[in-house]
C-alpha cells in the first residue's frame, strides 16, 4: 500500500480536495423531491392465480411506475435538472416529517391495499358470470400516518391494524370513527393494535397539548381472506410501491380468471387507482408515466378521465404528448372505470 501511496503522492495531494467535494455532491441529501420516468412492471410477475393455468396469454398487462426520489443528493438533483422528463419540487409537506424509509413503508402499504382492492374488484366482476369464483374479504383499519409528536412513535408501525380503543369510563370502541365521542379529555387512553406478524399490543397515548389530537392517521381498507377465496393466488414481494397500478392489476387478474384473453396479443399498460366499486381515481406523475409508456412502445395505455373541468389526468397526458411531439390518438385511452377499460379491450376482439 505504501508503494502506491508514494507513487501517486502528487495525484493524491492535488486531487484530495476535489475528490472530497465530489463525494459531498454524491452523498449530501437535500430537502427536494425528484420525479422521473421509470418503467413497466408486468402484473403477472406480481400476482399468480391458480386458475386457467393452461391458458395462453399472448399479450401483456403492465403497471407503469415512475421514480420518486425523496431527499436526493445534490448530484441526483442536478441530474434531474438536466433530465427533460423529470420534475423537481420541494419535498411535499406530508413527506417532510418522515424519513425516506418511512416514505417507502407508506408507499408499499399503498401498493398492498391496491392489490387487495384489485383482487376484490376482479374476482367480483368475474364471479357474475362464473359462480365457481368466490371472493371473501374483511374490513380493516390501519395506521397510515404518524405526527412527529405522537407518543410511542417508534412502537407504532405503518400498516399496523387498529383493534380497539379504551375511552372514558373504560368504554371500548372498535371503530375509529367512534373514538372522538369517548375521548373527551387529553388522556392518556389505551390503544390496542395488531402488528403485521399478528401480535396485539396496547399503548397508553395522550393527546398532544398543542394540536389536541393523538397524532395518528388511520385508513380503512378491505383485506382479502386468501383461505376462503377461490381460486387461490400468490403475491410476490414487490420493490415498487404506490396505489396507481390498481386499474391494471384489476385487468390482469380478471384476465387470469377469464376464459378469453383480453390482451389480444397487445402490450397493454396504463395507470389509475382502483376503488372498491370499480371506479378509478387520479394519479400523480402523469408526464413521467406517459414518457415511460412511450419509451416502452406500449400498444394501449389507459389513463383516468373523470370529466373534471378543472383538472384531468387524460387532459394533462394529451398536453404532455403535444409538448413532447408524441402522437397519442392511437394508444392513449381515457377511462373512468374498470368496466370502461374492460369494454375497450373486449371490443378489440370484435
Amino acid at each position: 500500500m505504501n508503494e502506491l501511496a508514494h507513487t501517486y503522492r502528487h495525484a493524491i495531494k492535488y486531487l484530495f480536495i476535489p475528490y472530497l467535494i465530489l463525494l459531498f455532491l454524491l452523498v449530501y441529501p437535500i430537502e427536494y423531491y425528484v420525479q422521473s420516468p421509470g418503467g413497466l412492471s408486468e402484473v403477472e410477475d406480481l400476482i399468480e392465480v391458480d386458475y386457467n393455468l393452461d391458458k395462453n396469454i399472448e399479450g401483456s398487462i403492465s403497471t407503469t411506475f415512475v421514480m420518486g426520489i425523496p431527499r436526493p443528493t445534490i448530484f441526483m438533483f442536478l441530474a434531474g435538472y438536466f433530465n427533460r422528463y423529470a420534475d423537481l419540487m420541494v419535498l411535499p409537506t406530508n413527506y417532510q416529517t418522515y424519513s425516506n424509509e418511512e416514505i417507502s413503508q407508506i408507499s408499499y402499504q399503498d401498493k398492498y391495499i391496491s392489490v387487495n382492492a384489485a383482487i376484490i374488484v376482479a374476482y367480483e366482476a368475474i364471479s357474475e358470470t362464473n359462480p365457481e369464483i368466490i371472493i371473501d374479504y374483511q374490513a380493516k383499519t390501519m395506521v397510515f400516518g404518524k405526527a412527529n409528536y405522537l407518543e410511542h412513535y417508534a412502537d407504532i408501525a405503518f400498516g399496523d391494524e387498529f383493534v380497539s380503543f379504551k375511552g372514558d369510563n373504560d368504554v371500548i370502541v372498535t371503530e375509529v370513527s367512534a373514538i372522538g365521542g369517548v375521548a373527551t379529555t387529553s388522556g392518556p387512553y389505551e390503544f390496542t393494535f395488531k402488528n403485521t406478524e399478528g401480535t396485539e399490543y396496547t399503548l397508553s397515548i395522550s393527546k398532544n397539548a398543542e394540536s389536541g389530537v393523538f397524532g395518528i392517521t388511520f385508513k380503512n381498507y378491505y383485506l382479502v381472506d386468501s383461505e376462503t377465496t377461490f381460486p387461490h393466488y400468490r403475491l410476490t414481494d414487490s420493490n415498487i410501491g404506490g396505489p396507481s397500478g390498481g386499474l391494471l392489476q384489476t385487468l390482469s387478474i380478471y384476465n387470469m380468471l377469464s376464459e378469453e384473453d383480453i390482451t389480444h396479443g397487445l402490450k397493454v399498460a396504463g395507470t389509475g387507482t382502483i376503488n372498491y366499486d370499480g371506479s378509478i381515481g387520479y394519479i400523480g406523475g402523469v408526464k413521467q408515466k406517459i414518457i415511460t409508456a412511450y419509451e416502452n412502445n406500449v400498444d394501449v395505455f389507459f389513463i383516468p378521465y373523470l370529466g373534471d373541468v378543472s383538472y384531468d389526468n387524460y387532459l394533462e397526458a394529451v398536453n404532455v404528448c403535444e409538448a413532447y411531439g408524441i402522437e397519442h390518438e392511437s394508444w392513449l385511452i381515457p377511462v373512468a372505470s374498470f368496466q370502461d377499460a374492460l369494454d375497450y379491450l373486449e371490443g378489440l376482439g370484435d
Binding site: T7, V27, S41, G80
Partner: protein
C-alpha cells in the same frame, strides 16, 4: 498449461512473502476502489434518475466493473514489480490469467443481472 501456471505460482510465492502479497492485494484493491467508487456512485445515481434507461446504465456499470478489475490487477502488478523488478515476467504469468478469468466472471455476472435480475427486481 495448468502445470505451467502452478509452477509460476510457486515461483511467485518463493519471490514474495505472504505478507507482501497480501499487502499488494489490499493496497491495489483500496486504490482501485478509491478511483472507481465515485464512478460507481455516479452511475448508480444516474440510473435512478434515468430509470427508463435502466439497461443502458446497467451496461455502463458492467463496463465500470470491468475497468475496476483491470485497474486492480495493474496496481497489484505494479506493487509487486516495484518490490522486486526482476520478477516482472513471473508476475505477468500469474496475474494475467487471473485477470482474464475475473473479467469473464464479472461479464457473466453482469449479463445475469441485466437479463435475469433486473426483470425480477422491477416487479
Amino acid at each position: 498449461m495448468m502445470k505451467k501456471y502452478i509452477a509460476s505460482l510457486k515461483e511467485l510465492k518463493q519471490s514474495f512473502s505472504y505478507k507482501a502479497l497480501f499487502d499488494a492485494c489490499i493496497g491495489a484493491f483500496v486504490f482501485a476502489l478509491i478511483m472507481m467508487a465515485p464512478v460507481f456512485i455516479v452511475l448508480i445515481q444516474l440510473l435512478v434518475v434515468f430509470m427508463y434507461k435502466v439497461r443502458t446504465f446497467t451496461i455502463l456499470l458492467i463496463v465500470a466493473a470491468l475497468f475496476f478489475n483491470i485497474i486492480y490487477h495493474r496496481l497489484f502488478k505494479q506493487v509487486l514489480i516495484k518490490k522486486n523488478g526482476e520478477t516482472k515476467a513471473i508476475v505477468d504469468q500469474v496475474t494475467n490469467p487471473v485477470m482474464l478469468v475475473t473479467t469473464f466472471v464479472l461479464l457473466v455476472l453482469g449479463l445475469v443481472i441485466l437479463f435475469v435480475m433486473i426483470p425480477i427486481w422491477l416487479v
